[in-house]
């Protein structure tokens, strides 16, 4: 029996086929972004009482992991930054057009940007500053505009956007995936319209490249250049549904799936696996940055290096942790390869076993975000009231006692469950891949490594929280 196709659900399928469905999804997020900008720049500069910081650092992140877990990469589908597309199509007429450099057509540039973003998040305490959060939103829209104006559409999403690539990587755990209903239909498709775009003209059907921009009705193809029958993973899929609208044979499906099959079957590129590895260790660091042990490490390091420069200390901590994580991953996966009798380069070993990091990375971020989202989910009500009343709308008095969704003593058990599910899913990948090589023990070696990482993560999440922006306390204040 084939998996259910969500596009067969009458209203949902019809809505997603509609050419303005993406705009309908983008519009609420655009309005939220505009309100965040307004409150971020003009509202009270206190993070828990400002719409910019609450909506971005609490709700956006919380809903994002929830959407990925229960449906798919909805937040890329609804990304308001792509609304710059209209203006960029206009300015493209006056600007030179470039091709994205071949050397950067991978995830390494995104990895560098993600590391810089994480550094900026900690160094400038973006979470604590409505003003900087508003600038971050402007920066994102500006970058999307610039890249989209100078390079082919989809370049920003696929090769530049750290947030989009975060979503791509985590959406490998999603229960849905775009696929072809009947691959035979794709074999006989003359135009590969899902990727090349379709233009219906009076003279017949053409691909977007063959047609004049002014002729006929245009149905753009996949912006990240995914060819539907070859899609094995949600990586790089923004769920924009262009493929669905471009296919003249109604052969595109959004099928429910068991994500474990992707982790076992997909042949991830090395850069993609490293992105998954980075996101796990970065997620760990993001959580560690909120417990006293982190500040103790910073104090000790400060004494050791003889500096109180936060930038230097942060760079050293991040370089050590991510470098150590990458190095140990390389060693352990190579050892697993050797145990299974395979003698190939360590990079190929990371490619083979590293898929296990995808569910683990998701669990790490989901566990952390769930904590913040569940402790403060209702704060969106008073901050929205306040932001709108600042705009002059009669919204009544905000009730600042609104906050938690679940009792506080549920949070840690919930995080434990999320991380155990992540470990369980990772072990499915590891032992599944070990079975493919007929060598169970090889999977066991990587599993022990993952088990220790999860144990360490659970220890971090069990620590009392400490929320401060300064890495080092002023001398004498302790």
């Amino acid at each position: 029996m084939s998996a259910p196709d969500l596009l067969r659900i009458p209203l949902l399928g019809r809505f997603l086929r509609w050419r303005y469905s993406r705009f309908v999804l983008q519009l609420p997020l655009l309005l939220i972004a505009l309100l965040a900008l307004y409150d971020g720049f003009f509202g009270r500069q206190l993070a828990p009482k400002n719409f910019a910081t609450v909506s971005v650092w609490l709700h956006y992140r919380g809903f994002l992991v929830l959407a990925i877990a229960v449906f798919g990469n909805l937040f890329c589908a609804a990304c308001p930054m792509l609304l710059v597309r209209g203006p960029t199509r206009f300015v493209k007429r006056f600007l030179p057009q470039f091709r994205w450099p071949r050397r950067l057509r991978n995830k390494y540039f995104v990895i560098v940007l993600t590391i810089f973003y994480l550094f900026a998040y900690e160094y400038w305490d973006l979470w604590a500053s409505p003003w900087l959060t508003a600038w971050l939103i402007i920066g994102y829209f500006g970058a999307a505009f610039l890249v989209d104006a100078l390079f082919p559409e989809g370049t920003f999403c696929k090769y530049v956007c750290p947030l989009g690539n975060f979503n791509f990587t985590l959406s490998t755990v999603s229960p849905t995936q775009i696929t072809a209903r009947d691959p035979q239909v794709c074999l006989s498709c003359e135009g590969k319209y899902c990727v090349n775009g379709r233009v219906e003209t009076e003279g017949g059907r053409k691909t977007a490249r063959e047609a004049d921009p002014s002729e006929g009705v245009h149905y753009p193809g996949c912006e990240t250049r995914l060819y539907v029958p070859q899609i094995q993973t949600n990586m790089d899929c923004t769920l924009c549904m262009n493929c669905l609208r471009a296919c003249p044979y109604d052969n595109v499906a959004l099928k429910l799936r068991f994500p474990g099959l992707e982790w076992l079957k997909a042949r991830y590129r090395l850069d993609v696996v490293w992105l998954g590895v980075l996101l796990f260790f970065a997620g760990f660091m993001n959580a560690l940055g909120m417990v006293p042990a982190y500040y103790q490490i910073a104090e000790d390091l400060s004494r050791l290096l003889g500096t109180r420069n936060e930038a230097i200390l942060l760079i050293v901590i991040y370089a050590l942790w991510i470098g150590l994580g990458g190095g140990i991953t390389l060693l352990v996966t190579t050892l697993a390869d050797r145990l299974s009798g395979v003698r190939q380069s360590p990079w190929k070993a990371v490619r083979y076993w590293g898929a296990g990091f995808f569910p683990l990375a998701f669990a790490m971020w989901a566990g952390h975000y769930a904590f913040h989202f569940l402790t403060g989910w209702a704060t969106i009500v008073p901050v929205t009231q306040q932001a709108l009343s600042n705009l002059g709308l009669p919204m009544g008095d905000p009730d600042w006692t609104l906050a938690a969704l679940v009792p506080e003593n549920w949070l840690y058990p919930l995080q434990v469950v999320i991380l155990y599910i992540g470990l369980l899913a990772a072990s499915y990948v590891l032992f599944g891949r070990a079975r493919q090589r007929d060598h169970f023990l090889a999977g066991g070696v990587v599993f022990v490594y993952f088990f220790l990482l999860v144990a360490l993560a659970l220890w971090v999440l069990a620590q009392p929280m400490e929320m401060r922006g300064t890495l080092l306390l002023p001398p004498g204040s302790r």
Partner: protein
């Protein structure tokens, strides 16, 4: 177009509700550097201004945290005190002191501190 944008900005700015007047006050803690747990908050205001109510609201700098609220009680001329303000987590705190005078006019002061 630009003219309309400026008009919109001005209109929105005009609609902004009035925030309180700045409160001239000295804020002290007992112990001087509070750690996690209860601490005394002493607020010394200008004794010439007759305040009827003083409140203290503590927020952490991370979004999503429930604020800690306390009502100060008069403890002498120009002195208001919260006996046991609950600093329930380590980290950066922002205390908002709000005082109301007889006419109901609001005065506010923000104090930032780190609880180690």
């Amino acid at each position: 177009m630009r003219k309309w944008a400026w008009l919109l900005v001005l209109a929105l700015a005009a609609c902004q509700p009035k925030h309180g007047e700045p409160l001239k006050a000295q804020v002290r803690f007992v112990p001087e550097h509070p750690s996690v747990g209860k601490a005394e908050v002493c607020i010394e205001v200008d004794p010439r201004v007759e305040f009827t109510r003083v409140t203290v609201v503590g927020d952490m700098t991370h979004p999503g945290m429930i604020p800690v609220k306390a009502e100060a009680h008069p403890a002498g001329p120009g002195l208001w005190r919260v006996d046991a303000f609950d600093f329930n987590m380590r980290g950066d705190w922002v205390l908002t002191i709000t005082a109301y005078d007889k006419s109901g006019k609001k005065y506010t002061k923000e104090v930032r501190l780190t609880v180690p």
